[in-house]
Symmetry: C2
Subunit: 165 residues, 2 copies
Amino acid sequence: MNIDARLIDSALRGWKLNIDRIDEFFHPLSEEQLQKEIAPGRNRLIYLWGHITGFNDALFPLLGLGPKLYSDLEHMFLSNPDRAVPTIYSGKELKRISTRINDSLWGAYSKWSPAEWVEKHTSVSGEDFVKEPHRNRYTILLTRTMHMALHFGQVVLTKPRKSTS
Amino acid sequence: MNIDARLIDSALRGWKLNIDRIDEFFHPLSEEQLQKEIAPGRNRLIYLWGHITGFNDALFPLLGLGPKLYSDLEHMFLSNPDRAVPTIYSGKELKRISTRINDSLWGAYSKWSPAEWVEKHTSVSGEDFVKEPHRNRYTILLTRTMHMALHFGQVVLTKPRKSTS
């Protein structure tokens, strides 16, 4: 493996690590347990799960992979705060939806060459991209991985006290 | 900039983004505000700041840059839970210490070539590294960036409710 392939491999491992630990955290929870707030008066677990899922679904258009798979996630979990939308996906639905999104993204990630990874994402114009070449797919992969880690740090606060690091 | 340099640039931006938002969060806080817990009965802000700082300080030996700069961080904020060690660094001290650690790390990061980034870290043997070449400095950079993001997600919970994403 040459250097650029190794650098991409590291980033994909970071993405996968977060997908896996989020799945492992949420999958065993009942609908009732998903109603728990991460701290008094803050987001519920179900909302954060939908939020992470919706953020990842938005990667399809951003990375040039086509439209979102579940456009309802946007108003349920991104553009509105928790409890603002009366009907949201259940845990059972989010399990199925997030698995489909993550599997499809992984399929695309696995195919891109290093040159394809540093192509521009769709929110930047060709002109701006010349001046700001870091606005590429790979940077998006890294920032979305950080986004998952950030919210994972919050949801683990609902687990019995032991270690959060 | 060729592809591998661009991939490294993206990761360095992710590191810097987290260093900056953590500094921006903690620097204005008084010693009293740093006593606040992220959630009832959980870690105090001062502990998490020290924890992040200690984790980053441990990068010096792990990346082959020499010994830790502040070995006391280990027992104060890593190997013991919050409130277990009677005397810990103050916010004023952590501000100075974390700045020195982060500046020194950044100095090293800025000098490494792509080939140096994919060299093995010091916790893996040469023999194991042949089988597991992802155990390199670059992977450490990414995982430690995720570590900062994870705890940043927790500390922002102490801010007045608005957005946590």
